[in-house]
């Protein structure tokens, strides 16, 4: 049973609050040295799951294993975890040094060891000169670095991060994201990261766990989850997708026809048709940025071009988002801007390659 390959293992974990079930049967592993992200909208159970791992919330059913040991009823202070909160949660009445040394003090570390370890942690988060200061004398980004230093200095079995970047402003958030990932790699520490920000999740994770409604919708490497969403929810939540119901048609050269309810016919690959589970009913998922736009018809060689008219243009800087009307349906298209964006009202062709037409079984939810 004891699988030391996994830092954390959740087996059939359920959390109920009275009548309300926050987490409905979750099976999950956090492999050693890996960065695992729980991604989902608020109320999806991701924070509850993190709190259960931390020991801040009781588990109603199922087992929680840390380093192969069942820890369901082990109190939080005996779990050896590093916890970082969204609001930093530094002790305002203690200096930065004492904040970081806090966990070491309770681990019976000698004074000189504490000093060495605190200094090393401060170096690691690149704030070597703030030991004497107090939390309120540091900026938000600096406070979060200290919170991280405080969590890792105790060499925890798992590092738990509860939306640690959400309170920072946009530029700082990106800087901290890189920083966090660097530190995690350097220490090789198993990390669970909770966020509702998909770009953070995609950029940082080794393994992405998309949660919704107390369930795990999909887990896997970020690329796999992004390119091959297992449900309409994942397709919709990660990036922007066009999801259209349709039916599988006959084969067409190396590809298979998908007849959309809106009238168009797309092509898809065998890899995708396997997902229909033998049924004809499918839903086609086409990512907004995987649709090409141009004024010429580009059909052929596995590409279908659909004529349409540009209804609205959102200028986003490096790229533009278009709503293109075709056969009475609005398609969302995101394209990089070449020189200048296409104009509103222009007649346009949408090019969809077969490999970008991902299928989901029809009407499952």
């Amino acid at each position: 049973m004891a699988d030391t390959e996994n830092a954390v293992e959740l087996q059939n974990v359920v959390k109920r609050y009275g009548e309300f079930t926050a987490v409905k049967r979750i099976d999950l592993t956090v492999p050693d040295n890996s960065f695992v992200t729980f991604l989902g909208p608020s109320g999806c159970g991701k924070t509850t799951t993190l709190r259960m791992i931390a020991g801040l919330t009781d588990i109603t059913e199922g087992d929680l294993l840390i380093r192969g040991k069942r820890v369901n009823s082990l109190p939080i202070h005996k779990r050896n975890l590093g916890l970082v909160f969204q609001n930093y949660a530094l002790f305002p009445h203690k200096s930065i040094f004492d904040n970081i040394a806090f966990g070491l003090k309770y681990r019976k570390t000698s004074k000189s060891d504490i000093r060495d370890k605190v200094n090393r942690a401060l170096d690691l988060v690149q704030l070597p000169n703030v030991a004497e200061r107090y939390p309120n004398q540091l900026s938000g980004g600096q406070q979060q670095r200290i919170a991280l230093a405080r969590a890792i200095v105790i060499e925890p079995d798992v590092l738990l991060l509860d939306e640690p970047l959400s309170a920072l402003d946009a530029n700082l958030r990106e800087e901290m994201r890189v920083e966090l990932k660097r530190i995690q790699r350097e220490l090789g520490i198993a990390t669970v990261f909770v966020t509702h920000d998909q770009s953070e999740a995609l950029a940082m994770s080794d393994k992405l766990v998309v949660m919704n409604n107390g369930f795990v919708e999909q887990e896997g490497a970020p690329q796999d989850v992004y390119n091959n969403p297992a449900s309409a929810f994942v397709a919709d939540f990660l990036g922007h997708s066009n999801i259209i119901a349709g039916a599988l048609g006959g084969p067409d050269a190396a590809f298979t026809n998908v007849n959309l309810q809106s009238g168009e016919t797309l092509l898809t690959t065998d890899e995708q048709t396997a997902k229909a589970n033998g049924s004809k009913d499918v839903r086609a998922v086409i990512r907004a940025e995987k649709i090409g736009l141009s004024e010429q018809d580009g059909s052929g060689d596995g590409v279908i071009s659909i004529p349409g008219k540009i209804k609205t243009v959102d200028y986003l800087g490096q790229q533009a988002r278009y709503f293109v009307e075709a056969n009475g349906r609005d398609w969302q298209v995101i394209n990089p801007i070449d020189a200048r964006p296409h104009q509103e009202g222009a007649d346009i062709f949408m090019h969809i390659a077969a490999r970008n037409c991902v299928l989901l079984p029809g009407h499952q939810d």
Binding site: H77, L83, F85, F91, Y106, R107, N136
Partner: protein, 290 residues
């Protein structure tokens, strides 16, 4: 231009004028009257002699009697404050940690005693501790004692009455500072290896010190200035300093002496407040919350 700047400088004073007028008329001017009174002299005929006499001050500052009562007053106020701090912290902690919904109800319950006159609340102890009060009747009926014990009219009952009166003030002050402490802080402390009790000692208790300090100061000042509780629950030798003021002004109609006495109490409590905020670092702790 110049007029604009002058107007801008005047604006805060104009805006402050209602409160300045209120404080001035109701607090500072009456206090100045008291200061002036304290230098008058009451003659044997009972009339007040207007002038600048130091007689009252010499009597108040020189007589051991007043010093002893002052000491006793501060001792009673001190015991009251310490007891309030200890037994007030627990309900405050409890209220701060209850869910939002029941919190409002519990706070209302805390306010409830204020709806009943303080004198009535103080006198209710007579019905409980008096010779024919509830406790004595109970003890007599179950045979623990043969005749009623004298429980009332001593320093202990004065402290008891004061604690009863001042406890809500302490609870509210401590509650406010406990309520402002981020729950994540205790969770962070526990994740770093603290037991619940250690997390309380390391985080919650130090961060609630401003409330505890403010509540203690309030309790001490209110207790030191009380005169009803010693009258109702104290014996003849349990007079507190405010009783002397009451005695001098209401009974003996000796306004000059009463004025000097009340100024002594005011000055001492004022000095205490200054020392308290300066050296116990109430400001300093409050700063850490920003």
């Amino acid at each position: 231009m110049a007029a604009d700047i002058a107007g801008e400088r005047r604006a805060p004073w104009v805006l402050l004028s209602p409160s300045l007028a209120t404080v001035g008329l109701l607090l500072i001017i009456p206090m100045l009257f008291i200061v002036v009174y304290s230098f008058w002299l009451r003659t044997a005929t009972g009339a007040d002699q207007v002038g600048f006499y130091l007689d009252n001050w010499i009597e108040v500052l020189g007589d051991r009697f007043y010093r002893d009562i002052l000491f006793q007053t501060f001792a009673i106020a001190f015991y009251t404050t310490v007891i309030c701090a200890f037994i007030g912290y627990i309900p405050a902690y409890f209220v701060a940690n209850t869910p939002m919904k029941s919190k409002a109800f519990l706070l209302l319950m805390l306010m409830l005693p204020f709806w009943i006159s303080y004198i009535i609340r103080t006198m209710s102890w007579i019905n409980i501790l008096g010779t024919s009060g509830a406790l004595n009747t109970l003890f007599l009926s179950i045979g623990i004692i043969d005749e009623p014990i004298q429980m009332l009219y001593n320093q202990t009952t004065v402290v008891l009455g004061l604690v009863h009166y001042l406890l809500p003030f302490m609870i509210l002050n401590v509650y406010v500072s406990l309520d402002g402490i981020d729950k994540n802080l205790t969770e962070a402390a526990q994740s770093l290896g603290c037991t619940g009790w250690q997390a309380f000692r390391e985080v919650t208790l130090p961060l609630s010190m401003p409330g505890l300090a403010a509540g203690s100061l309030l309790c001490f000042v209110l207790a030191a200035g009380t005169y009803i509780t010693p009258i109702v629950l104290g014996g003849p030798r349990d007079a507190m300093f405010a009783n002397l003021v009451f005695e001098a002004i209401v009974t003996q109609l000796n306004w000059p002496l009463g004025s000097a006495l009340s100024l002594v109490l005011l000055a001492l409590l004022g000095v205490l407040v200054v020392i308290y905020t300066r050296y116990l670092g109430v400001d300093q702790i409050a700063k850490s919350f920003k």
